[in-house]
Amino acid sequence: MSNGASDHRPRIEVTNVPTPQQERGARRLSTLGRVLLALGLAAGLAAGWIALPAFLYGRQEQPLAFNHLVHVETAAMSCEDCHSFGVDGSYVGIPPLSACADCHSEAQGDSEAERILVDDFVTPGREIPWLVYARQPDNVYFSHAPHVRLAEIECRRCHGDHGKSETTPVYQYNRISTYSRNIWGPRIAGGGPNEWDSMKMSDCVSCHAERGVHDHCLMCHK
């Protein structure tokens, strides 16, 4: 099953008469067949595991690079200085501009990020349009108060260690569902190496189940 294309036609008849060898080959697959199949398999796997994430997720830069570490170490701030509970029990996830402006009404250093902060946001009084990695869909109800105050779950259990981060990672969002990639997790199959790598409904449910929390749809959906 080879040779020139010019005499392809008469050979059809020949190839159509299967030798015992070919008969076995047709049942099993020739080497080329195996190669093609493997190639196809590889291509399919590549499409699903490598190309899909590349095409599925859009990438957006944060309006400015925020350095948690410098705030925690150099400025000796605690997490609660910016991320705190309001009087109504609601949690201030991303702090409002006023929290930044308390210290950065004028530039304190010479970093590019701080220049952007002061010139583009603090001076004109415009809120920073942060892209929120942990933003849940609109129909999800989540309150920090019972998780943090009552169950005493650590922040990193869901949010990871980004209190030690020195810059803001690129925000990635699902082009179809529009959700942040952090909900599904870095792996295209879902999740990641760390327990905080995904924030899906199944993650909520399994943690609730472990802790024996009473569940009901309206507990977490609005």
């Binding site: 109504d88 129909n139 309206l218 609005k222």
Partner: protein, 261 residues
């Protein structure tokens, strides 16, 4: 996700509506729509394709002037203990929370078959015939505690669960465990200018709803069907109390009784 065992209910939210106090101003409907992000259907929407979580009906005594009398009856979801909509839903989009007694509807799970609407004897369920569209810019007036629903799903009153969530959040932030009952007011009760709507915990015998619901003028709608509604109505007028009777009562001969006890 099953919750139906091992839950000790401390709360059963219930509502009492005093029909003698209702003047039919409609504040409950408007307060509800504002609270729960209920959109204005397009102008072309025919009357039976509207959407409201509490509808005020006018019921009369069937007589002509001057004996004619009518009463306004606000009907939200009755949050039946034995809710027909739960039994018929093929995709478990309706669930009763054993810890609060609230019958919840999950729009994202609903597939829009409308069995529940056919099953509900109170016509308290509504269908999103249209995309929820507000006049331009009015999205800015939506309540973030309630998620707008998509076209093609059923929805209904959930006793302002968003307000319950807020009340629970405040309680948790203060360190109170979630198992403790919290008190809150749904939008219709807050909006009613005549105090006709009382809301509270029926398991607390000292609560106002308990007292009113066990008073002499209380009745429930279509009780004979066995739905065990959590909304109780009050009226001093015997003819008004009879609007809760159903055909089943007539079959049993109850409809001719002078008045229900």
């Amino acid at each position: 996700m099953s919750t139906h065992s091992g839950v000790t209910a401390t709360t059963s939210y219930a509502m009492v509506i005093d029909l003698d106090k209702c003047t039919g101003c409609g504040a409950c409907m408007v307060g509800c729509a504002v609270e729960n992000n209920i959109s204005v259907p397009p102008v072309a929407a025919a009357e039976n394709r509207g959407l409201t979580w509490i509808r005020v009906y006018r019921v009369d005594n069937g007589k002509e002037f001057p004996e004619h009398r009518s009463v306004c009856v606000p009907i939200p979801c009755q949050h039946c203990d034995n809710a027909p909509c739960i039994h018929v839903c093929p995709v478990t989009a309706v669930q009763m929370d054993e810890s609060t007694g609230i019958v919840g509807q999950i729009p994202t799970r609903c597939m829009g078959c409308r069995y529940c609407m056919a099953a509900c004897p109170y016509h308290a369920r509504y269908f999103n015939w249209f995309d929820p569209i507000w006049p331009e810019g009015m999205e800015d007036t939506l309540n973030p505690d309630v998620s707008p629903r998509m076209r093609g799903v059923a929805e209904k009153c959930n006793f302002c669960h968003g307000r319950l969530d807020r009340a629970r959040e405040l309680a948790s932030a203060g360190g109170r465990p979630t198992s403790e009952p919290v008190t809150y007011q749904p939008a219709c009760a807050e909006a009613c200018p005549h105090g006709a709507i009382t809301f509270g915990n029926m398991l607390d015998e000292s609560s106002e709803v308990y007292q009113l619901a066990h008073g002499p003028h209380a009745f429930r709608l279509l009780e004979a069907l066995g739905t065990k509604p959590k909304v109780t109505y009050l009226s001093r007028e015997p003819w008004v109390r009879r609007i809760g009777l159903s055909r089943l009562d007539m079959v049993r001969g109850l409809a001719d009784a002078p008045e229900g006890a």
